[in-house]
Amino acid sequence: MAIDIKKVLLLGGGPTSIGHENELDAAAFERVMALKKTGAQIIYVDNNPFSFASEEIQPANVYVQEVNFQNVINIIDKEKPDAIMATTGGLNAMQIAWQLAESDVLTTNNITLLGMRPTDLKKVIDNQKLRNLLTEINEQVIASKIVANDEEAMDFVRDVGFPVIVKPISPSHDTSRFICNNTDELEDALEVSFKRTYIKRCSIEQSIVGYKEIEMVGLRDSNGNKILISGLEDMDPIGIHSGDSIIFAPTQTLINEEYQALRTATFRIMDALNIAGTCHVQFAQSRTDSNYFVTKVSPFFTRNTLLAAKATGYPLTYVSSFLELGYTLTEIKLPTKYSKYLAFMEPTMDHVVVKIPLWPFRDITDVDQHLNTLMKSVGSTIGIGRTVEEAIIKAMHSSQFSPRDILPSVSTVDDDAVINQLIHPLASRILILMEALRRGFSIDELSELTRIDRFYFYKLNQLLRAQDFVINNPLSAQAVEIGHNYGFGDGMLAELWQVNISTIRRINRNCNPVTYKEVEPSAGEFRETTNIFYSSYELENESKSDSGKTALVIGRGGNQLGPNSAADYYTSQILWTLKKSGYKTIIMNTNPNAVSLTPQLSDKQYIEPIQLGNILNIVSLEKPDVMFLPGNRHYLSNELEKFADLNMIVLPPDQKVAKYKNHQATTAIDVFIDQDKIIPITSISFFTRSDRTEVRYINDYQQPMEQWQTDETELISKALKLLDTSKWQGLVQVLFNKVDSHYHFSGIRPIRITETAFLTKTTGVNWVNALVKKHLGILDFNQLEKQLIPETHQRYSIMKAHFPFRELQSSRTDGTTRQEVGASLSFKNMSNT
């Protein structure tokens, strides 16, 4: 029975951090689009300046505030919503929902918590209650105890023995777990953990290190109907955080009995919790018998919930929104492009998806880089293929930092280091696994050392054999065919043979052309039109080029420190603008958490490595009228420029064109330039955490500048004089360094991605939209000018960067712009200053 909702409060995911990328924003965006269909008024709270979801809501209904208990209570008092949706706000939002229930705010205000009843939510949030519940329904949980001091911890260990895992209760973030094999390690772990808990309690549990980690994502409606979206298998064993693990969908090494047992367990858990919506359950599966433990129950959106949806093509966010509103699976009407049965058909896959995480160790080097129970990755990329090998290689391409299409070599690592890294893995884990195979380690030996299933070594071995064949048979049609079959793109073949990519494309003319297969949840039973494609060299091509004006937008791939999720925000704005300007939009991206891959933003999605060969293949098929390429892909833009018939626009702009007089700045004037016209936008004050003024340490921004009352007008006119419109176009920032109340000019640069998002949130003008339109020649300059009537400043807008230092156990507090993981936005009234 659908619940009648007039006004719903949606809790946002907050700033991105380790453990939380833009998946929550992507889910919230899709949810907002779905909720709009119900006619309900949406109130949104989030202080993530890179939130795309919030821009689809009436500005008056968006509360730019930290998502915390007190703020939510204040919003409830003011808005009087009749329902709350917390499932797209991560664990934080669920905890707030629980607090609201505990403190009777929900009952007093007659607010429905959507998705779960408060009594059931309590069973999930409270670990001991969850354990009781699981035990009651005959699901095994690992022995665990909550301890308040070292003595209690020792008592526990005397009972169950080492190894044990220690983690803080109500931690400051949800990623810290320590495996302890002996008393010394236990003491260290307890010391750190007691420091991190708000309530001075730690949990200690029996370790299941080495078990397989299997994840299940299911949906349930209020009538008790359930479907399983997908099973996911972590290649890495328990002991490496699931967020740092290479993940396969569907599961690869479970026999039917094991798989079905976990499926049934997932359903039983969803039933016991009366969930209406989605639930992600994690299991530890024994390698030697059919025993398993339930390790985590997340009845809300997680990274891997979204991965399961991406992997199958099932419109999970859309469907779960309606499930939370009380609709049953059979009542939900999907957008017309899907077959009418799809909402309640269990997804089946005829492809393989591999997710490889991205770690921040290039930007933050002085931390422990070992992969363990503490999550360290900041992003991930996926590869999709028709075979396991193809999917692995594509995910590997996509996860490389190298601008060129080549996998880094670890051939110089000595044997001892290889063995060491097999046992204590680093970010380069998969390359080391392949290197070990190349050096003749046996599969049994490797499986023993790494606790990785032998299956994966067989697959890696086949990749190595294919690679050897390709290397040993340069420029042969057969080598191209085998290379293609195993997922080596044209670009990779060109790199392996040290030739130009057009040579490969010439050889390929006699081979099978690339084909695109649709990612859809019926495994070919129905002609679904999800319009999500991946390449494979087979017979049938399912992607047909669109008629009409088309635009191809190249995404940013997996999140990395620096612009991080702001980059994807930018890509999403490009797509949205193009779509609203009448273009058929095509996005190419590999980030499973990307907002830019939500179905509403594009007419077509290619989940393909963002590499030259893959782009050229898509360009040949789609013949886009215009193509957008991110400015940081220099190699790609240089290579693509050789293809004269490409109408290529570089956005976001390349920061390398910045001109610095010196690298010190405190203040800036932001302007927009279209041909010879300049609109001053605003002034900005920069802040650094340590009173430094070096540009690379500028992480915090305030709009308008300090002392704008006296200095802004003068500084703007100073800036305008410095700008040569024949050199600078678009969003441009003039930097000044204030020394002893004098503003010294220090440089000009394109406005950075994060600041562009900040400007859009604070000025009420969508600057990405303006840039895109300018490039397309459809910008209405006068209208833009009108939108920006200079007004007396009412408030300060402040954006502060967040760094992942604490999660990475670094003692640093101040970082560079390249080390940012996210940011928070706030406003301050002038009168308060």
Binding site: N225, T251, I255, L329, T348, V388, E525
Partner: protein
């Protein structure tokens, strides 16, 4: 790697690489989209005389497990898959898929566009196919000339009765091409099982003093079997609780006056929601069906429709109005496939318990 061909009755041919046996075979081609349990699928007798296209892209990953065969002698005519992995042994001492297929003379082809084949079959319906060395006119002539047997049940079912003793309810399983999953579920519930040949008479069966009777799954069309089987069903259903599955369900329907039709495209998968009418709940189970009970032909004074497939509307479950006799089209044993409906075996056990409680006075 030997190149071999899958050729279809309508003239299409697909080149791929050989694995398993190098035999040349002909059968009906069907696509199966269940994502787990290639071993259970290949060893299911229901695939007698059929070539199975797996839409699951990669099979063989876990070898073959001694505990997961659905029959001792598989009789599928071929396996078509995008990719296979030839993993041999691990902790469980499993054997490899390639070796298994060679042992049982089942040819396989991999590295073919199975997604295209699936699309092709969805569009053009069921057809004959062959796995051959050369896709020439001769091969197509042979394919066209081959008449597939309609005596599948006689070929795969046990010719002699055999026991599977335990100390619980006496259950007689009529073997039409039985899958072991049914026996496993009955054994878990301590049933004292006697498996009898498909053509056993009602006297033979009732003489075994059964507490309940199971009509097993099996290959082929129900209307190719003699009417004596329908008479047997009518005789026993009024005396003893009855549970039919797959072919057993189709026979139960025929015995009670319903019609069974051949589907244009066989459905093999576990992705269709099955609605239980009485509770209005949906669940999933492996379905391997080439035939379907026509809902319009049901005599509602005799039978309840208990389950329907929400995608294609086919009858998925029946129950007699007057007796505890039920049948389902799908495989509730979940070997392979979801275990959502494994409770049907508990219901069957309860039927038998109720019958004992009432000392047979209901009959």
């Amino acid at each position: 790697m030997t190149q071999r061909y899958l050729i279809l009755e309508d003239g299409s041919a697909y080149a791929g690489k050989a694995f398993g046996s190098l035999a040349t075979t002909t059968g009906e081609i069907v696509a199966n989209s269940t994502m787990n349990g290639y071993q259970e699928i290949i060893s299911n007798q229901i695939y007698h005389n059929q070539i199975i296209v797996f839409t699951q892209p990669s099979i063989g990953n876990t070898g073959l497990d001694q505990n997961a065969y659905e029959s001792i002698l598989p009789s599928a005519k071929g396996v078509i898959v995008r990719e296979y992995e030839n993993l041999a042994t691990d902790h469980f001492k499993r054997i490899s898929l390639d070796r298994y297929l060679k042992q049982h003379k089942i040819p396989g082809i991999y590295d073919v566009d199975t997604r295209q084949i699936r699309h092709h079959l969805q569009q053009f319906g069921n057809m004959k196919a062959s796995i051959v060395d050369v896709a020439d006119d001769h091969a197509f002539d042979q394919l066209h000339a081959t008449v597939l047997t309609n005596q599948q049940v006689a070929q795969v079912a046990t010719p002699k009765p055999y026991p599977n003793p335990d100390d619980g309810d006496n259950v007689v399983v009529v073997d039409f091409g039985l899958k072991s999953g049914i026996l496993r579920e009955l054994s878990k519930r301590n049933c004292n099982i006697t498996v009898v040949p498909w053509d056993s008479s009602s006297e033979t069966i009732l003489d075994l003093d059964p507490d309940g009777i199971v009509l097993s799954t099996g290959p082929g069309a129900p209307f190719n079997l003699p009417d004596s089987i329908l008479q047997m069903i009518r005789d026993v259903q009024s005396q003893v609780p009855l549970f039919g599955m797959g072919l057993g369900h189709e026979l139960f329907a025929l015995a009670n006056g319903a019609k069974v039709v051949k589907m244009r495209v066989e459905h093999h998968g576990s992705n269709h929601p099955i609605r239980e009418i009485i509770t209005n709940e949906i669940f999933f189970s492996a379905q391997e069906q080439g035939y379907a009970v026509d809902p319009k032909s049901i005599d509602h004074a005799k039978l309840f429709i208990t389950h329907v497939d929400l995608v294609n509307g086919t009858v998925q479950g029946l129950r007699h109005r007057d007796y505890p006799a039920i049948s389902v089209q799908f495989s509730p044993d979940g070997a392979p496939g979801p275990k959502d409906s494994v409770g049907l075996f508990d219901d069957f056990i309860e039927f038998m318990a109720r019958r004992r409680d009432s000392n047979g006075d209901r009959y």
